[in-house]
Amino acid sequence: MLSPGRTFTSLLLRPASRLPLWLGSEGRAASSQPKELIKKYVLEKDELRPLYMDFQATTPMDPRVLDAMLPFQVNYYGNPHSRTHAYGWESESAMETARKQVADLIGADPREIIFTSGATESNNMAIKGVARFYKAKKRHVITTQTEHKCVLDSCRVLESEGFSITYLPVMSNGLVDLELLEASIRPDTSLLSVMTINNEIGVHQPMKEIGQICRSKGVFLHTDAAQAVGKIPLDVTDCKIDLMSISGHKIYGPKGVGALYVRRRPRVRLEPLQNGGGQERGLRSGTVPTPLAVGLGAACSIAQQEMEYDHRRVSMLANRLVQKIMAELPDVIMNGDAEQRYPGCVNLSFAYVEGESLLMALKDVALSSGSACTSASLEPSYVLRAIGTDEDLAHSSIRFGIGRFTTEEEVDYTVAKCIHQVNRLREMSPLWEMVQEGIDLKSIKWTQH
């Protein structure tokens, strides 16, 4: 069998003589033949790339960010931790400038920013690090049911280490109940983790109020702000946030970099996940990738400049999308609170139409769905389930992501296509037919499969 770390693709890229024995002589002679099994996705001759409406999944890099990064890839390539020569000094200076740019965006001190490989690593560091550091006296962590998988999975790992975790339910509009939150804080609670803006339904949690509660009870507040940073004004002092995760590729920056804000006053202590040479205040050892850090810094500074204009534009486009769809199609439900939300993340459920079939119909628009069919299991999205969406509506939801580079024409095209395809699919749907005949779907005994 293959040893760990080698993939089949990397095997095939070797010269034929160095292929392992188990492939056989047939493998060596026909080493060119298996290559076609590595399915390379290439567009057909006249096929156009789909319109991109999935800005919550990732964002294209802003060209200005690329401009800032390029010199550090080929010219200023030194290791920023090299103390003894100019290559190191110039890289370090660029890294520190980037750190300041990230800090300025969230109202923090540059010494409080740690560069990581992304929001997933930041979340892991924050949750596991804080919980493990204070584990002598505090064994309780609180989070919500709508968090990102990395937060939930980190909490699960903590549970197996003997911590007790409370997964707070959310109300049907996606917001946490503040009284319930306050009531679940115990004397042995070390950390509360709530994401600022949800990546699936776009709801914006009341961070100021939550921060107030946590500060008054002496509990650290961690927030996964990957979708929020650079899009809405966020101040860590204002909201009394102690730890914040930032993701590069959600704010038109490079992929593979993120940051963790760790408060210094009052000091938050963490047990590091990654040990080594003591970089990043000993909390995250490893060479800081200068080009990526510079990219993140540039993305943050651009976001700070463009925030107000982007927000106005995205709100206008999102309203246009929602108004047009709701005006033409009956039985469309927006998931998540209508007011307390980030406008660029619109999650709509089209009743009586299944999400994946609608995605297939809208194949020239890149969208995402909360439907089961698009995940490996038959379970619909856990976020939609947490807000109490009926199971059949959870299967019918689509997430439209609008961002800095979305144009009005793209929105209009998407809306028109969506309306047309939903009508077509409803004609094909037995549920729509039954509803038109006046049958109450909840009264039917379905065959369980």
Binding site: L2, T7, F8, T9, W22, L23, G24, G27, P34, E36, L37, I38, K39, Y41, P50, D54, A57, Y352, V353, E354, E356, S357, L359, M360, A361, K363, A366, L367, S368, S369, G370, S371, A372, C373, T374, S375, A376, L378, P380, S381, D390, E391, D392, H395, R399, E427, M428, S429, P430, L431, W432, E433, L441, W446, T447, Q448, H449
Partner: protein, 165 residues
């Protein structure tokens, strides 16, 4: 969750030529063109009169599972299926499976239609393992429609017997 774009996938023959020990490294992210074809040009979408005694209606699945299929067959007096219609709430593979099912039952007798298996539907459409339940539901829909037809025929016979007394 991921956005999807329709595209061809590997033919089954290429899969057979790989050695069994080779690990599965192809993720089938795209639909087979047959599924796309059935989806974009579905055959036999519609409704037959469910009160007619020659029509059998099968309604299977559940909205909570994300798959509901309604398959209707019209049978002539010689026990041959002359028309079939379907309506589906489900993903592209489910729509394709039920569309194919209606194509296949047309022209068959009631007994022959019972022989249609989900594995045949899955093979014809090159369904990936994660979508096999769609073909199973299509087979269930056919069986449910046939059972409903038989039930109606039995009721008719009983009524005829009662009327003649």
């Amino acid at each position: 969750m991921a956005g999807t774009v329709a595209k061809k996938c590997l033919s089954p023959l290429a899969l057979l030529t790989r050695r069994l020990s080779a690990p599965e490294f192809i993720t089938q992210c795209c639909y087979h063109k047959k599924v796309v074809d059935h989806y974009e040009n579905p055959r036999n979408v519609g409704t037959l009169d469910k009160n007619s005694k020659n029509v059998g209606t099968g309604l299977v699945g559940a909205p909570a599972c994300g798959d509901v299929m309604k398959l209707q067959i019209e049978v002539d007096d010689h026990g041959k299926i002359v028309d079939a219609r379907f309506k589906t709430f489900g993903c592209g593979s489910a729509i394709a499976s039920s569309s194919l099912a209606t194509e296949w039952v047309k022209g068959k007798s009631v007994d022959e239609a019972l022989l249609i298996k989900n594995t045949d539907i899955a093979k014809e459409l090159c369904l990936p393992p994660v979508k096999l339940h769609c073909s199973m539901l299509a087979e269930d829909a056919i069986k449910a429609a046939l059972a409903d037809y038989r039930l109606k025929q039995k009721d008719d016979q009983q009524e005829a017997a009662r009327a003649s007394i």
